[in-house]
Amino acid sequence: MIGESASKRPNGLRPGAKAPPFALPGVDGEIHSLPAPGDAAATVIVFTCNHCPYALAWHDRVATAARDYADRNVRFFAINANDATRYPADSFEAMRERAAGDSWPMPYLHDADQRVARAYDAQTTPDLYVFDRDLNLVYSGAPDADFDDLSQNAAWLRDALDATLAGAAPDRPETGPVGCSIKWRE
């Protein structure tokens, strides 16, 4: 089991912080941006990638949550910021290939210059951020307590969404992100 921890983002977004804006290309050929405040009941940003076993282990649970909450006007965005020069499996072309062979319930976006990952202080893949209707941060961290236990079912993510959709603050606003480090450009 992965324990909760003290803040892992001493220089990053704190609960209540506004979502940094972005406009990033998706594997669908479109440019995607944050919804305007009030347009979505909640917004989830997940930094992820193609090659990391932690991101892959949690992917289906996060994707299932995206499907489960879609009819409650929750928007999910997946962002890959890894340096594809050192990790070719994370190139935009490889992202396209992966998404084409799978059913992705969220846009898969490429942060080639890593500005968005830096603005969010993303640390690992995966690393999740949940924002409320007004794009205030209500949760950041891991999807749930154990990458290797399917029954966890992205419980921390779902708890945050359920609280936010009910107009309440999540009991657990932050957990330590767990996974492969973001592969920053050298």
Partner: protein
């Protein structure tokens, strides 16, 4: 001999080492058979043909064929026997490797 190679940046190594030790105990393999090595540089990774952390070799054979995973300082991708991706090897793969080498 059992070799456990890890890169500290991948958080699953302690859990993988615990899985290995549990399997060794189950298979009656003495702790003295275990060598734990930290991989700290790309040069080390290349020299050790390290396909990612953690990697477990029993008498030189990997507990799961790394296939075409590139050698380097990275987190290793495993396939569980039920098809899931994981940063951890399947416990059954560890036990089978130990049984092949040490009987049981």
């Amino acid at each position: 001999m059992i070799e456990f190679f890890f890169w500290r940046d991948c958080p699953s190594y302690e859990r993988a080492l615990a899985l290995l030790r549990a399997a060794m105990s189950e298979c009656g393999v003495d702790e003295s058979e275990l060598r734990v090595s930290e991989v700290v540089s790309d040069e080390d990774a290349q020299r050790m043909m390290f396909p990612g952390s953690p990697t477990i070799r029993v008498d030189g054979a990997d507990v799961q064929d790394p296939g075409d995973q590139p050698v380097g300082l990275t987190c290793r991708l495993y396939r569980k026997r039920d098809g899931r991706h994981s940063p951890l090897p399947d416990e059954a793969d560890i036990r089978d490797a130990l049984t092949r080498a040490y009987g049981g």
